[in-house]
Amino acid sequence: MDEEFSRSQRLKAAVHFTVSKICEEIGQDCGKEFNKLVIAAITETAFKQCDIFAKDLEAFARHAKRTTITVEDVKLAARRSTSLAIYITQKGEELTSTHKEQRERKKKQSGKSDESEAPAKGSED
């Protein structure tokens, strides 16, 4: 129990660190100074929000009969705000296409002659 408490405290300290960095950056941008209490409150809110996200993601994955949370679950978690949902979907697609590219590049390096599945690209020399 004590170990779990200290683990949570350490993680909260990590969140606090990043939150204060972000606040510093935004504060410089709009010429405002963030009170320490505000930073602590944002940390606490982000922590709690992460708890809600985690429980949601877990439920979504379980509903799909999975034990691993995937990009699809995160998209569901972001559905409430339209612009956020669009942004997350776009980011997810970017990640998937990067993986695909990397995989194809690896394939090309290992076996150059095997190109029966890949669509023919005329411009490639």
Binding site: R7, S8, L11, A14, V15, T18, V19, K21, I22, C23, E25, I26, G27, C30, G31, K32, E33, F34, N35, L37, V38, A41, I42, T45, A46, F47, Q49, C50, D51, F53, A54, K55, L57, E58, A61, R62, T67, T68, I69, T70, V71, D73, V74, A77, A78, R80, S81, L84, Y87, I88, K91, G92, L95, T96, H99
Partner: protein, 81 residues
């Protein structure tokens, strides 16, 4: 959002650990891409909180962002996520 400059973000490791800590079932795992997206989400949440609080302070003609400013934006922030 500022392009070019590297923005302050949460660490992937931190978010991964946070999520695993909150799971009820120990067997639940998080995919690599899912962690990256959640890092993005949490960063957006914090940025949005800070921006809205700063804007609230601005409308109240205050140079400092106080807890009252944050309290005012908190309900709508939570409804939006």
């Amino acid at each position: 959002m500022a392009d070019g400059e590297p923005e302050v973000m949460f660490k992937k490791e931190t978010v991964g650990k946070l999520l695993s800590m909150f799971f009820k079932d120990e067997k639940t795992r998080v995919g690599g891409d899912a962690v990256i997206l959640m890092t993005e989400m949490l960063t957006i949440f914090v940025r949005e909180a800070a921006r809205r609080a700063a804007k609230q302070a601005h409308t109240e003609h205050s140079d400092a962002v106080d807890i009252e400013n944050f309290e005012k934006i908190l309900p709508q922030l939570l409804l939006d996520f």
